[in-house]
Amino acid sequence: MTSSNMTCDEFDTALPDYLEGTLDDSRRAAVEGHLSECVRCASMLRDIENIQKGAAAMPDLVPSRDLWLGIESRIAAPVIPLATRPAPQRRMAPAWMGIAAAALIASTAGITYMLTANSLRPAKSSTVAAVTPSSPLQPTNGADSGVPAESTSAPSPVGAVAVTRQPDVTGSRVAARETPPPQRIPVQLVSQSSDRAHSDVVYGREIEMLQNIVSQRRTQLDSSTVAIIERNLQIIDAAIAQSRAALARDPASQMLDQQLTHALDKKVELLRTAAMLPAST
């Protein structure tokens, strides 16, 4: 207790507001009176003011290493554009991710079933796109397929395809001779197959890169999150395998090709999301 009628305990109580400058005039005068007479409390005030000044003047810290590489690998942008970039990204709840993947499988399996069933029906060919009625096995016109209308004999990656094209005298048909075909594939498929192969390479590269990032970040992520990601990847991989199998049976199907692309997109999207997740979420 001092002559200012303020005890040290009262000073301690009033100190935070005094430092904030929120005391009314009479209380502030009492605090200042006490400070002028009490060494202990004056010393405390001086120390705290020094701490405040020191804190406000603290220099920036410097990381022990360059963090940019880790950041860059996580934001590494997509070789394959999906929708549009970072519009506000909602984090998909695990349950919804599961449902989305299940829907993907269901639609892929349904389409596979339909197409497989169709292909087993006798006297109905589903392999040739855009052929003339009198020649169901002939390839389409080069102008439609994007393949120059000249002789081609390069083997298709999908199977035995060697198509010799001759100029059509009437202009309405393309004559074709084919090597003994276990299965005949129109010229259009040569282009589609090579597009698919190129697309597979691009997707493969992207997926490999993202898988590397995700695998490096495994330890930083919550184990339940990792488990969900892996489960969903298995589901998507199953969908991809089904689409590939169906596409091998019916290489002409653009729908199956799109399904496969869609499944690959899903895989890239999930891996990218996982690669960008903050640590321990």
Binding site: I48, Q52, D60, L61, I75
Partner: protein
């Protein structure tokens, strides 16, 4: 004067780079990172009380920044927006880790302590302020860093941390007294 000019220049550079980075330009984003990395790291390391954790969180902050840049409307300076984002990332990380972390006697989640190996050389006789801050209980440390180091007001801190303004004041006073005690040792 020169400092003010540098700040203005940095802000102008930020504006251009923010626009470029929001459009997907990673080189522009790297420039933003280089400009602000130390500041963000300081916030993350001081609030978490760990340099190692601070580095992880800094990476998280910039990944989040990349994701959220298209939403930045320029209503405040980019640095202000970025620092606020950093604080939120640190606080959210705490909430997530809270489930797994041990609890201290006073009921607060205790952070990993300032890494011995990574910290700057410490004064032998007197602990320096950086180390003393790292040794504070988590709640007091976060409020102290936000108020006395970063300059946020109690109302802002209360909103960010989900506490009352009075709670923020109490934590701050407690932190200052604990720091005084630690620095006097």
């Amino acid at each position: 004067m020169a400092a003010a000019s540098n700040l203005a220049h940095a802000a102008m550079g930020d504006t251009t780079d923010v626009a470029l980075a929001a459009g997907g330009d990673r080189q522009a984003f790297e420039r933003l990172y280089r400009t602000h990395a130390n500041r963000v790291f300081s916030i993350c390391a001081r609030m978490s009380g760990s340099r190692t954790k601070g580095e992880e969180l800094t990476q998280d902050v910039f990944v989040r920044t990349w994701e959220k840049l298209p939403q930045f409307r320029g209503e405040s300076a980019f640095s202000t927006w970025l620092h606020r984002l950093a604080v939120n990332v640190v606080l959210n990380a705490r909430k997530t880790e809270g489930r797994q972390a041990s609890r201290t006697d006073d009921g607060e989640v205790d952070d990993e302590r300032w890494d011995e190996a990574a910290r700057a050389p410490m004064h032998i006789e007197r602990m320096d302020l950086t180390d003393a801050i790292a040794g504070l209980p988590a709640g007091a440390r976060r409020v102290f860093v936000l108020h006395d180091v970063e300059g946020y007001k109690h109302e802002e801190i209360a909103e960010m941390m989900g506490i009352t303004s009075g709670g923020s004041k109490a934590q701050l006073h407690r932190a200052r007294l604990l720091l005084r005690e630690a620095l006097e040792r």
